[in-house]
């Protein structure tokens, strides 16, 4: 979980108020708060002079941005070609069954978000997933028990 004491204004003032800094700002806000709130988006627009419609277009075009709050734990399953061949689709299905959400979704208790990513470039670890920024190599359904069990205990 990200600390709640990050100052949004500080992030915004860090960059010059120009349209070409829009993506930089959205990235930093996403990293700090795990999502971009309507208020934050409006503040970014006021600062950069970009119309809200365009900022909305940008934040929905790129996969890194989320306009909805994310879960406490983020589980990202790599769907690169090597992972696909080595059973990543099976992992995603199993995670869907266990968490009760589809990729892109967050559980109702805001505990888990399930994401898929196109390739992490870590093909020797296939099938690989990243849980809260930690790489989990050669994941089997059995290993899922262990990883999810550890998260549960948190």
């Amino acid at each position: 979980m990200k600390p709640a004491n990050i100052d949004l204004d500080e992030i915004i003032e860090h960059y010059p108020g120009r349209p070409d800094y829009l993506i930089f700002l959205l990235q930093d806000i996403q990293a700090a708060f795990n999502y971009i709130s309507p208020e934050a988006l409006q503040l970014v627009c006021d600062h950069t002079g970009v119309p809200l419609s365009q900022a909305y277009a940008v934040s929905t075009f790129y996969q890194s941005f989320s306009l909805e709050p994310k879960g406490e734990h983020e589980i990202k399953v790599c769907l690169g070609t090597a992972c696909h061949l080595k059973g990543a689709p099976r992992l995603v299905e199993e995670l869907e069954r266990r968490l009760g959400v589809s990729p892109g979704g967050t559980t109702d208790d805001l505990k888990y978000s399930l994401e898929t990513v196109n390739c992490l470039g870590a093909c020797a670890l296939a099938p690989v997933m990243v849980v809260d920024e930690k790489y989990q190599p050669s994941v089997t359904t059995k290993k899922l028990d262990k990883v999810l069990g550890e998260l549960q205990q948190d």
Partner: protein, 633 residues
């Protein structure tokens, strides 16, 4: 030297001339003790995930406790794992070059005692030849390394990418000094053109020709002009650019500065995928250190030439690897491509002349300038000069990164370097070129791997990903995989790409369920041509390649799905059934416990059975069975 000390030294050490750089290099070389053992712990993504930081930490402790004078190279010294990712964590002991694989923290005491104190190799950690079963002691004797020609990767695994001095000691920035003081910008362009270097990002456009047309455009339009590094490595299964940016960031930076000098640019951009945080970190550190030494920024090496660069992080859009989409993304907008009636060397970033090259392309430039175009042109094949880095992944023994001269046969890469398919059978196909490429069957194993031969075979070089498939992989499934990928990544601007890819995917989905007819295959081919002709950018234009090449080389397999309602590889869910071989089943209950449907019945120590009506064909029973008793048909 400690980091703080190094930084303090860099502060008062702005290099004001080529002679200053050479003096620093000589001093650094003298400071090195060639006899002092050096232990290199690979910190590439693969090794990191398998515990290399713990190994490095344990080594530091063990060496301190033993009182030996050895240097454990801290931090990330060799991202990209010296390439041999499937054997990580890797530890190399220099100067001998002893190569240890799959090292764990618990092995460290033995390494210190046996190797550092007694001077012997730890036998059980050595690489064993899979055929002869003999242990191989030295890194350079392992087939995976022996057959490589490392030009772009020469520093990776040898230098600490977070310390510029390490790179300078190995000749970093010498090419820049040579260009700034002994060559005119036109000579730099001419040298790159004569080398025959072609873009490593996909299409293989000659770099020198691109630069030359940029010069012409600058004459017409005037300045400013921009140089850009395309580090948005999006092809699934390709990770060479990540490895270069993480493991040798100064090579990319030096190449870019050389390009800027050649074209008279004063501002550059490094556009790097958000999924590569370590690459972004290392490039940022490299830029800071280069600035502190006067190798970047105002008045570089006292030559009067000024150039600076900024890092732009991508935000997770595959299409941003396309040049015009990448430019709109740097400008802060949604990365949609533009029509290319006017080329980006004339109107690129902010409508100015812009030269965009791929990471690996830029990293080749310093060596061309340093060693000359003739040297470079002497490597590789006539129309595809130099080397190429490939990522070898999928159903292959030695997963990792290899650099070989262009033009060597496909078979040599997969079998000699890659060690072939696990189990020893021949590979079924090799997918090259990412979502824009195609699948080459085993019958084309002798195809020379160069730009033109791959294109002729219906695939393409792409950024250099090679995904090896075996008989358990279904080509219809692979076609669906890439179509789903492209459907998701299509920016949606033009109709052939947006709707055409979706329609192709729907047809292939049908095949995977055993639906459709032979007429559909003809329709699919015709649709593919329309998409090739009608799409705005290369993402759409090349999107039918995975379908067309699998149809060209594996039409029988498509027909098996459509006509016989069978998936020969046992992948497509609607066409397969799982069952248990009663002779092999030991009744251990592992599958029954793992089954999410609870549709496996049977008692302990008695053969089990799967209730096909309730089975969802998730394959978990097969994965959990240790006795290969679960079959798929």
């Amino acid at each position: 030297m400690s980091k703080a000390k190094a930084e303090a030294k860099a502060q008062d050490a702005r290099l004001a001339s080529a002679a200053d750089l050479e003096a620093l290099r000589q001093r650094l070389i003298q400071d090195q003790d060639p006899d002092r053992p050096e232990i290199i712990v690979c910190h590439g993504t693969g090794c990191l995930a398998n515990g290399s930081p713990e190994v490095a930490e344990a080594l530091k402790k063990a060496i301190k406790a033993s009182g030996l004078d050895a240097k454990v190279v801290p931090g990330i010294k060799a991202t990209g794992c010296h390439g041999f990712c499937s054997r990580g964590p890797l530890v190399v002991v220099r100067p001998q070059g002893l190569f240890y694989q799959r090292v764990q923290a618990s092995d460290v005491d033995e390494i210190v005692q046996t190797t550092l104190v007694e001077g012997q190799a730890v036998e059980r950690l050595l690489y064993k030849d899979p055929v002869s079963k003999e242990a191989i002691t030295l890194e350079q004797d392992i087939p995976f390394y022996k057959h490589q020609k490392r030009v772009v990767l020469r520093n990776i695994g040898k230098v600490d990418p977070t310390d510029i001095n390490d790179t300078i000691a190995r000749g970093g920035y010498l090419a820049l000094a040579k260009a700034l003081f002994a060559m005119t910008p036109e000579q730099v362009v001419a040298e790159v053109e004569k080398s025959g270097l072609r873009g490593r990002g996909g299409a293989g456009f000659p770099t020198g020709r691109k630069w030359k047309s940029a010069l012409a455009a600058i004459k017409k339009k005037g300045r400013p002009v921009y140089v850009v590094v395309n580090g948005d490595e999006g092809d699934p299964g390709a990770f060479m650019d990540r490895t270069i940016m993480e493991g040798d960031p100064h090579a990319v930076l030096e190449g870019l500065i050389l390009g800027a000098y050649a074209l008279g640019a004063h501002q550059g951009f490094l556009y790097v995928r958000a999924e590569y945080p370590v690459a972004i970190k290392h490039l940022t550190i490299a830029m800071e250190q280069a600035r502190a030494l006067g190798l970047l920024g105002e008045n570089i090496l006292g030559s009067g030439f000024s150039f600076d660069v900024q890092v732009n992080r991508g935000a997770g859009a595959f299409v941003c690897g396309e040049s015009t989409a990448l430019f709109t993304s740097i400008e802060g907008r949604a990365g949609e491509p533009k029509p290319k009636y006017v080329r980006s060397v004339e109107e690129g970033l902010w409508g100015r002349p812009t030269v965009l090259n791929n990471v690996e392309t830029w990293a080749n430039v310093p060596q061309i300038i340093e060693n000359g175009s003739e040297w470079f042109a002497g490597l590789g094949a006539p129309n595809s000069t130099g080397t190429k880095v490939f990522s070898l992944v999928g159903k292959v023994n030695n997963v990792g990164l290899v650099e070989v001269p262009m033009g060597i046969p496909l078979k040599e890469i997969v079998e000699t370097l890659g060690g072939g398919v696990p189990g020893g059978e021949p590979f079924k196909a090799v997918q090259t070129g990412g979502p824009s490429g195609g699948c080459l069957p085993y019958s084309l194993k002798d195809t020379p791997v160069d730009f033109d031969s791959l294109t002729k075979a219906g695939s393409m070089m792409g950024s250099g990903g090679m995904i090896v498939m075996d008989r358990r992989d279904c080509v219809v499934d692979i076609a669906r995989y890439f179509l789903r990928f492209l459907e998701e990544e299509s920016c949606g601007k033009c109709i052939p790409c947006r709707l055409g890819i979706q329609r192709m995917r729907e047809m292939c989905d049908g095949f995977s369920r055993g639906e459709g007819s032979e007429a559909d295959i003809a329709e699919l081919k015709s649709l593919a041509r329309a998409i090739q002709d009608g799409s705005l950018c290369a993402l759409g234009g090349s999107s039918p390649n995975p379908v067309l090449t699998t149809l060209q080389y594996f039409e029988d397999e498509y027909l098996a799905h459509i006509r016989d309602h069978k998936c020969p590889a046992g992948v497509c869910k609607a066409l397969i059934t799982y069952s248990i071989d009663r002779d092999k089943c030991t009744g251990c209950m592992a599958c029954a416990r793992a089954c999410p449907q609870k549709c496996i019945s049977g008692q302990k120590k008695k053969p089990h059975a799967i209730d096909a009506a309730r089975c969802i064909r998730c394959g978990i029973c097969m994965e959990s069975c240790k006795f290969q008793a679960v079959q798929v048909q």
